[in-house]
């Protein structure tokens, strides 16, 4: 999987831009606020039909413009595909593959495998369980459409059940009890199947994490990840039904897939509590590389790898090792890297043949190959 060309119109700070990419490392250089990350976000948009950040679609439109357009020309096994994302102010967005719009945009997810690392990755360690669940769900959804469909049904039924609990305000009528039974049966079945996929993901993911721990400079440390879920422990059906009394009091659902969590471990200790900033940063790079390896295996392609500000907070030796690693063309296809320090990156790319450099200044881009 690779992208040959990217065209933007009124996307974030770009009025009109056309870029051509090569194989290997694509380096985006420029000072802060010039729009390096916006280019990565455009690639993310083409894959996931949404931005990687918190913006709404209307906020992605360049100031004063009425629409944005992101177009990508992709190539996979000699076949070319054109993906267009178009959004007009206050209208529904349109995603087209080879000229024909999707009826259901969700069908596009997984067609273009991509892994993105950003400075916000530290949220995966520090933030609440929802962030980690979203990450795992995103990893799985890229190659397992059935899982994504189940997850969406689960979330919809969950909000219906919660709305029912809120509406009852603690008074349980026979008809509502029977409706709760209906929702419970559906949620229990879905929870179990989601859980099996999640557990299977972690089982298969951990070996990749171990393989990457050495590459990213831990001296003697081991990396791991565990899955915590009420669903696989003991009699889940019983736990779920037992929780109804509590659900009626708290007016929300207290047991199920939406309570799952994952922990990241270094030498068996939770990284959240014991990892230093440097260790956490290194771990997160290993995590993203593992996600890349995992996805490459699951999809039998080389996904696009996007690394935003990856060199920040790393010492020179680690940066050197990382760039050596990333120029391994047997393992990686296209790697997109942003850096605010031009001299550092130029030095790193010296002697690397498969790199293209894009210098970015105020929405204009100047490119050359090394």
């Amino acid at each position: 999987m690779k992208i040959n060309a990217l065209a933007l119109q009124n996307f974030k700070n770009y009025e009109n831009l056309a870029l051509e990419f090569t194989e290997g490392i694509q380096l985006f250089l420029g000072q802060n606020g010039m729009g390096k990350t916006n280019l990565l976000d455009a690639l993310h948009y083409l894959t996931f039909t949404k931005t990687a950040f918190v913006n709404t679609d209307n906020q992605n439109i360049r100031k004063g413009a009425l629409y944005f357009l992101v177009k990508g020309d992709f190539e996979n096994d000699g076949q070319t595909h054109e993906v267009i994302c178009y959004h007009e102010l206050r209208k529904k967005k349109v995603i087209k593959l080879n000229g024909s719009p999707y009826d259901r945009i969700i069908e596009h997810i997984g067609k273009l495998p991509l892994v993105l690392s950003t400075p916000y990755d530290s949220d995966l360690i520090r933030e609440i369980s929802e962030v980690r669940r979203k990450w795992v769900d995103g990893c799985i959804a890229q190659y397992n459409q059935e899982y994504l469909a189940d997850l969406m049904v689960y979330n919809r039924i969950l909000s219906q059940r919660n709305a029912l609990l809120k509406g009852m305000e603690g008074h349980l009528k026979a008809s509502n009890e029977s409706l709760l039974d209906t929702y419970d049966t559906q949620l229990i079945t879905l929870s179990k199947s989601l859980s099996h996929v999640r557990a299977d993901f972690v089982d298969k993911f951990v070996p990749f994490l171990s393989a990457n721990e050495g590459l990213i400079v831990f001296e003697h440390e081991t990396c791991s990840m565990t899955y915590q879920s009420q669903i696989l422990a003991g009699d889940f059906e019983h736990t779920f039904l037992e929780s109804r009394k509590k659900d009626l009091l708290t007016l929300r659902t207290n047991v199920g897939s939406h309570k799952d969590d994952y922990s990241f471990l270094m030498d068996g200790q939770p990284l959240k509590k014991f990892g230093s900033q440097g260790q956490q940063k290194s771990f997160l790079i290993a995590l993203r590389l593992s996600q890349y390896d995992y996805l490459a295996k699951a999809t039998q392609t080389k996904p696009m790898l996007l690394l935003d500000d990856i060199f920040d907070k790393l010492d020179d030796e680690r940066i050197g090792r990382l760039t050596d690693l990333l120029s391994d063309s047997a393992r990686f296809g296209q790697v997109f890297i942003t850096d605010a320090r031009k001299e550092r990156s130029s030095l790193l790319m010296k002697g690397k043949h498969n790199a293209k450099i894009f210098e970015i200044e105020n929405g204009k881009v100047n490119s050359y190959e090394t």
Partner: protein
């Protein structure tokens, strides 16, 4: 929008509350009415008033009707079948197929607590009672509900409610439209139609 007339503004405000009608269309409709003979507008308001005040829902099947006792029982040739639908237009759609000659039951919506619709807001108890009172005359309940998650939940809920009533509960099948190309069918529909595949009849 600022209007030169308060009266136009108020009319536009009311008309634009209708589904699918925005402020601009509402204004166009209001101005159109003003250009027509006065009688025509008065006739429209009179008909709307009658519609609102005199409309009845059949006490048996809850279809929209002019009387509380509609023709549902006399029109149905087969009183052993009862088809459960969400709204009155669904009845017309199924009747127009010419493939169904049983009775109907209009629920008045589907279960969706998010929209404030629980089982008690729908004509579910009435359906249960109707089957009970039929003394075994109703043999089969056909669920013809929309293929959404809420439609499925409603079907699931109804099936549970009807479990002990000694009637057969069936559902219309979901699948490929007649005359439709397979490759254009969405995966979920196609998957479902494979699971519920049926034997090919050569007779």
């Amino acid at each position: 929008m600022e209007f030169s007339s308060k009266l136009v503004e108020q009319a536009v405000e009311e008309i634009s509350k209708l589904p699918g009608i925005g402020k601009k269309t509402a204004l166009r409709l209001a101005l159109h009415l003003l250009k027509q003979p006065e009688d025509q507008t008065l006739l429209l308001t009179q008909k709307l008033k009658e519609l609102r005040e005199d409309i009845k829902y059949c006490q048996t099947c809850h279809i929209i009707s002019d009387t509380q006792d509609c023709t549902c029982k006399t029109m149905s040739i087969n009183p052993a079948l009862i088809c459960v639908v969400e709204e009155t237009p669904d009845v017309l759609a199924i009747r127009n197929t010419g493939q169904y000659n049983g009775m109907f039951h209009v629920l008045g919506g589907r279960i969706s607590p998010i929209d404030g619709i629980g089982p008690d807001e729908l004509m579910i108890t009435s359906l249960v009672n109707r089957i009970k009172l039929s003394d075994g005359e109703i043999k089969e309940v056909i669920l013809a509900l929309s293929g959404t998650l809420e439609g499925d939940t409603t079907a699931f809920y109804l099936t549970k409610q009807l479990e002990e009533l000694n009637v057969e509960v069936t559902s219309i099948t979901r699948g490929i439209p007649v005359g439709g190309e397979l490759e254009y069918a969405d995966e979920v529909t196609l998957g479902r139609s494979i699971i519920t595949r049926s034997k090919v009849n050569t007779d």
